[in-house]
């Protein structure tokens, strides 16, 4: 009996302890179940003080996601968030609409990769008037009130292109044709300036003078499949097929590669491409693309955000930020 009593010192107290323990265990079990299945799992949400928009033309290049990631990284590090608004030919909205939307969304800055769409200049000006700074990336709208341009000086780029082409052309007595495919053939557009510089340098260079001709071809990108049709047309007449093709966008480079393969012109036509995509890498391997222009996407993303942040902070920023570039060959890709 004594032994029993010592076992149950005070059942009232023990009972209370048991009740509390059961309740606590049930509470813990309840919440652990909710945690386990994720009911209570809060999404890891970070809010930012500033909101930037990156508006880009998806047909222009394949590396925008990379650029966006770097821009986002830089923005996040500085208390800002970058929202990506991408235009594609199948989009309901135009680039101008995306500008309008960004303004209506009350963004604190816009990074615009302009295309040839009319009215963008006015939208840049409208945004600037509404106190929303706009920086242009890779494709400039020089007459607009954009606060900065991040990209490559078209003249320098044209010179680099010309050097590459002169190196590609064999040192013989044959005549060669270079076709530069422009998605934007406005006179003040970057691409046109690049073309002009290529033409000037090739025509004036000793190696290529008088035997290498350089011409521009407009490739339409506003509608569906237009670019493909235009490029196919270029190779359809076997008599007038150029020996060198220069492309200023990922899409045109890929279309040109496919057309050269389709028309069995591999070895006869060489492409100076734009950026690196899986297909372009394949083209490099197959010696269809002789070399391709690769830009520093990190620099592009970081500098565009930095320009906006600097403007937000100080009220001004450099009008131009240069971006490093490199012409990459098959060997270079393999080395990478």
């Amino acid at each position: 009996m004594r032994k029993l009593n010592s076992g149950i010192t005070n059942p009232v107290a023990i009972g209370m302890v048991i009740i509390v323990a059961v309740t606590l265990s049930a509470y813990v079990a309840y919440h652990s179940i909710l945690d386990r299945v994720g009911v209570n799992r809060e999404e890891n949400v970070t809010t930012y003080d500033q909101h930037f928009a990156l508006i880009t033309d998806d047909t222009y290049a394949s590396y925008w996601n990379e650029v966006y990631d770097y821009a986002q990284e830089e923005a996040n590090a500085n208390g800002a968030y970058v929202e990506l608004l991408t235009w594609t030919p199948e989009s309901t909205y135009t680039m101008c609409d995306l500008m309008d939307k960004s303004m209506a969304c009350g963004v604190d800055g816009i990074i615009l990769v302009a295309n040839t769409e009319a009215g963008l200049e006015e939208k840049i000006n409208e945004a600037t008037n509404r106190g929303i700074p706009v920086v242009t990336l890779m494709e400039d709208v020089p007459q607009s009130q954009r606060i900065s341009y991040i990209g490559i000086n078209p003249v320098s780029l044209g010179t680099e292109y010309a050097k590459t082409l002169i190196d590609l052309v064999p040192d013989d007595e044959e005549e060669y044709n270079i076709k530069v495919l422009l998605t934007d053939d406005r006179v003040d557009a970057n691409q046109y300036q690049i073309f002009t510089q290529i033409n000037t340098d090739v025509v004036n260079h000793e190696k290529t003078k008088k035997r290498v001709s350089c011409a521009a071809n407009r490739v339409a990108t506003e509608g569906f499949f237009l670019a493909d049709e235009d490029i196919q047309e270029l190779f359809r007449n076997q008599e007038e097929v150029p020996e060198y093709v220069v492309c200023f966008s990922t899409a045109t480079t890929e279309i040109a590669y496919q057309a050269i393969v389709d028309y069995n012109l591999v070895g006869k036509v060489q492409v100076v491409g734009y950026a690196l995509s899986p297909m372009i890498e394949e083209a490099l391997e197959n010696d269809v693309v002789a070399t391709t222009l690769v830009m520093d996407t990190q620099e592009m993303g970081t500098e565009s955000v930095d320009a906006l942040l600097e403007y937000e902070t100080t009220g001004y920023t450099n009008a131009y930020y240069g971006v490093d570039l490199e012409f990459m060959t098959k060997e270079g890709v393999a080395h990478e």
Binding site: M1, R2, L4, N5, G7, I8, T9, N10, P11, V12, A13, I14, G15, I18, I19, V22, T23, S25, A26, Y27, A29, Y30, I33, L34, R36, V37, G38, V39, E43, V45, T46, T47, Y48, D49, Q50, H51, N76, A80, Y81, E83, T92, D97, D100, K101, A104, C105, G106
Partner: protein, 491 residues
Amino acid sequence: MSRRKWQDYPIQRKLMFVVLFTSVLMLISTVIMYFMINSLIRRLDTVYASNVNMTELRQNLDVVQEDLYQYLEVRDYVALSQFYLEEENFRTLTGKLSNKASDNRVMLLQKNIRSMSEDFLNYADNAITAKRGMNVEGYRQNYEKAMELYGFINTDLAELNELLFQNNARSYQTLQQALNYMEVASAALIIIIMVIGIIVVASTTRGIVAPLAQLSEAAARVGAGNFSQRIPDPDSQDEISIVTRAFNGMLDSLNLYIEKVREGAEKEQMMKEQELLMENHLKEAQLRFLQAQINPHFLFNSLNAGVQLAEMEDDEKTAVFLGKMADFFRYNVKKGTEDARIAEELSVVENYIYILNVRFAGEIMFSKEVDESALNYRIPSMILQPLVENAVNHGIRDMIGEGWIRLTIHNDPDRVVVVVEDNGKGMTREQIDNIMMRVETTHEDDSTGIGLDNVISRLSLYYDDTDVVEIVSPGEDQGTKVILRLPKKEI
């Protein structure tokens, strides 16, 4: 302190506690399960609430747009007032949306929708103002802007709704999974609580029943006659402890009583022994007293007579007579308190007869028939002479005719039989009974003082046997026979 308290609880309270505890445990488990399941079900119910809110927002936006269009088209003032009303609602609804830039798409869309909605309403207000101010171009431009934003908002709302729907569908699945887990957890909880309840009820009731069992076992042992045990005194104050203490008290009382009874019995035994001893002493005293009753007058009278006779006549006969007398009284004095041999007793009888014959001139005819082998056994002194004296005094003294007395001693195998027989007056049955019952009789002054009753009493006490003496008389004048059957006692 608390331990004592629990032990001191009455059984009723202990049982109440058990019932209350199990009830509370069940209640708590039910409440917990209710809470767990109900909270999940409530969550399930509200999973799609955000979709409902988005739909409401969208519907509200549509109404605002329709009212705006209606007013701008036909200047409908009802639509205008409706517009203002719905505009307010729309502001309230969009005011609940997040206004923070975030890496969460839902929050970012909310921020965009909220911001665009403000722009939309501003353009709508501007359009109405322009319409009122008859500014046709102004209200058209503002309306177009408003409609552009309306499109944007709708697109974002659709995306937001889609995202929310996906999130909510995931939440719903998650909650359903949680509900499944909860079912298992509830079952486990019920089992745990049941086990706890059983353990508590079993241990508590055992705490109550165990002392009872102990008590009943002890009672059974007591029933079997084991009074020496004792249940350890419990510390508690409950009813069973009281009963246990009472039981122990009862055992104590019982043991005390038994001890008293034993002591009483011992005392009684001792008293009995003392009583017997006293009785012995008394008997001894009686014996001595009876022996002391021998009348000394006879001695002195006879001696005086002898002395006088011898002095006056110097006679030989007298000398013999006095010699016999002297022997007789010497014996009487000497053997007053001692046993004697039968031979000595016989000699006393012979002396006595001689003395009587001297006194009464040879009137007494005395004969004896003695078995010599019986003469050496031991018997109380002064037995035979009183018998003969009795035969003389009450038998033949006053009889007509010649009286005789005959003494016979036989040596029977186990007893010595002594018969004193006379042919005197005899005795009635009543007389014999009176003598045998030792009714006090008076003694004549000239007798030796030891009557028949004395002899009978002494023999009875000496041998502790009443059948030692037998008196036989055929009737009046037919003589009396006193028969002694004496157990043999060697010297």
